[in-house]
């Protein structure tokens, strides 16, 4: 922890970055984001199994970007990012929301995080997104901290559930998702927590015409959740923040994981892995498979 704090403080004091977006501990089993602008702020920085937030969500926020402008120059932003969060940063760069040189990535050797705050970290409480994870080291970074550790081995319940749903017929599948989406209260916490939902004006905010109903009834909920899934197809990196943010426990990780699987199977594409690769939906190759559309 001390190494991280010293490193962050130096970055600020040398004038290399305008702020360090990191985590601070607020209780034994809970952390919260902090936008560290001073040396004192940096003394609070931590990294552990309770660092659940995907801080990349702040990289596209106007008020955070404004911080970069200091005394006539434009500085970088530093972000402490788990290897999975780094995928979000890469995806943002792939989508031209950021430049690689705008962000200073401080990452970690990660052995997984806890499912939710307040839980003791062990095999049972490993976050579902960590189960299939293959990037315990960040793919891109400017600094890496922490020792390498073993990730607890846990059965992949999300994959099992996806398989179960695939075995359902269309009617059963529709009923399953309708029941889940009926719980939705349209708080848009899923959208707010997602680093890739950065549209200044979301499709649901458009009223002329109203593409997606704002009401939280079956039809309105189904439209919203499905539209969001479609807008993230081939882009979602599976950080699971949407599911964690949802107050109604809607199993959004099922959709996220399924989208990742589809993109990989149909187009050999995984989002947020390679700065040089164009985005899936932003590029076209004559050899692209038609299967998903036919």
């Amino acid at each position: 922890m001390d190494k991280l704090r010293k490193y962050a403080t130096e970055l600020l004091q040398k004038g290399e970055v305008a702020a360090v977006i990191g985590y601070q501990q607020i209780s034994e089993k809970r952390t919260k984001p902090i936008i560290a602008k001073t040396a004192e702020d940096c003394t609070k920085l931590v990294f552990n199994e309770y660092c659940l937030n995907n801080l990349a969500v702040y990289l596209t926020k106007a008020r955070v970007k404004e911080l970069r402008r200091m005394n006539g120059t434009v500085l970088k932003l530093a972000i402490t990012a788990k290897p999975c969060d780094v995928h979000s940063v890469i995806a943002l760069i792939q989508e031209n929301q950021l430049k690689r040189e705008d962000v200073h990535i401080i990452s970690f050797n990660c052995a997984g995080v806890v499912k939710d705050f307040g839980m003791e970290f062990d095999g049972e409480t490993l976050a579902t997104k960590c189960i299939p994870c293959e990037t315990h080291k960040p793919l891109y970074s400017d600094a890496i901290f922490g020792e390498e550790k073993e990730t607890p081995k846990v059965s992949d319940e999300v994959l099992a559930k996806i398989d179960a749903i695939e075995k359902m017929n269309a009617g059963e599948r529709f009923e399953y998702f309708k029941t889940e989406f009926d719980k939705c209260i349209k708080c848009y916490a899923c959208r707010a927590a997602c680093p890739l939902c950065y549209c200044q004006r979301c499709i649901t905010d458009k009223t002329i015409p109203r593409w997606v109903e704002s009401s939280a009834h079956s039809r309105g909920n189904f439209s919203w959740n499905v539209v969001r899934a479609f807008h993230l197809s081939g882009r979602c990196i599976g950080c699971g923040e949407c599911e964690r943010a949802c107050p109604m426990d809607i199993p959004l990780s099922l959709l996220n994981r399924k989208m990742v699987i589809e993109a990989k199977e149909a187009y050999s594409y995984v989002s947020g892995r390679n700065l040089e690769t164009p985005t899936l939906v932003g590029s076209f190759d004559v050899k692209d498979s038609d299967e998903l559309f036919m």
């Binding site: 952390t31 937030n53 008020r63 209260i185 349209k186 959208r191 927590a193 704002s214 939280a216 964690r244």
Partner: protein, 336 residues
Amino acid sequence: MEEKIISKEDLLNLCKDVIGNGHTLITPGKTEYAVVKDTSEIVLDTTAKPTKASYKTFVFPKAEPVIYYKRGKNDVQLLDVDVKQKKTVILGAKPCDANSFNILRHLFNWDYKDEFYNVREKQFIVIGLMCKFSDEFCFCTSIGSSPVSDKGADIFLVPVDENNYTLKVVTEKGGVFIKDYEKYLKAGDEAKTKKVTGEVKLPEVAFDSKQVHEWLGTNFENPKWDGVGDLCLSCAQCAFVCPVCHCFDIVDEDYNYTEGRRMKNWDGCQFGHFTLHASGHNPRDIQGKRYRQRINHKFKYYVDKFGEILCTGCGRCSRGCAVSIDIKEIVSNCKD
């Protein structure tokens, strides 16, 4: 009516009867309060965390039609909405939730009476249950309540020993309701109840709400508000899980070329577009201003207008916030 005792077994029998009589029974579930079809689904745990969402959706639905319309050539037909509510019993309401109706009723009856709310609320019997949970987000004691408060409940339960609850009738409505189930009640022991409630650890008082109210009146332009909005991502989780937040939107929805309904949907003051004018002007364009409104509305404006704090201290908003924004912390800082 003096305090009575009801055994845990008989409480379940009472629930069976309630369901058998055709009434709706609601108890705290995993995420939210849910309708119970079978008594085997009932779990009453005083040490449980408050549910992620409150039960306000039962009296103030997340989305409901207020009128139906049918467009003709150049005429329109309006069809009324008739709200029907069966007698509903909420069993196991935490004290922080139980008082929510007392707080909401003021607004929904301020000069214009919202019958969509009143017709429903009238049919509710709130059976409160003493609470033995407390975490870093709870602050019921700071807003004038406590984990053993029966304010807002029609009937209040205290688990007086392993097999029994004390049952106290708090309101006339509660008294009328319990008459049908008197066979399950035995004589109570007030001393025993007092001992149990006396042993409950009260959350530490985090702030003086009167002092906060005064500070808010003179610190609208205080630079503290600038920082408060930094982390907020402008969703409405806090407003929607809150037992007493009540802002809403009215929108029209067509279901075909001629017919549709006018919907009354939950809305949140933290959304960027909440105060957006058609001209493009937005008086609350940055998050700090919107969060300032939230705190002011809850701890000052509602108090000035209706004499109640628009907050129950349940801490759901903070516990559920994706970026852990803590309302208790922010209100505690509302001082010089």
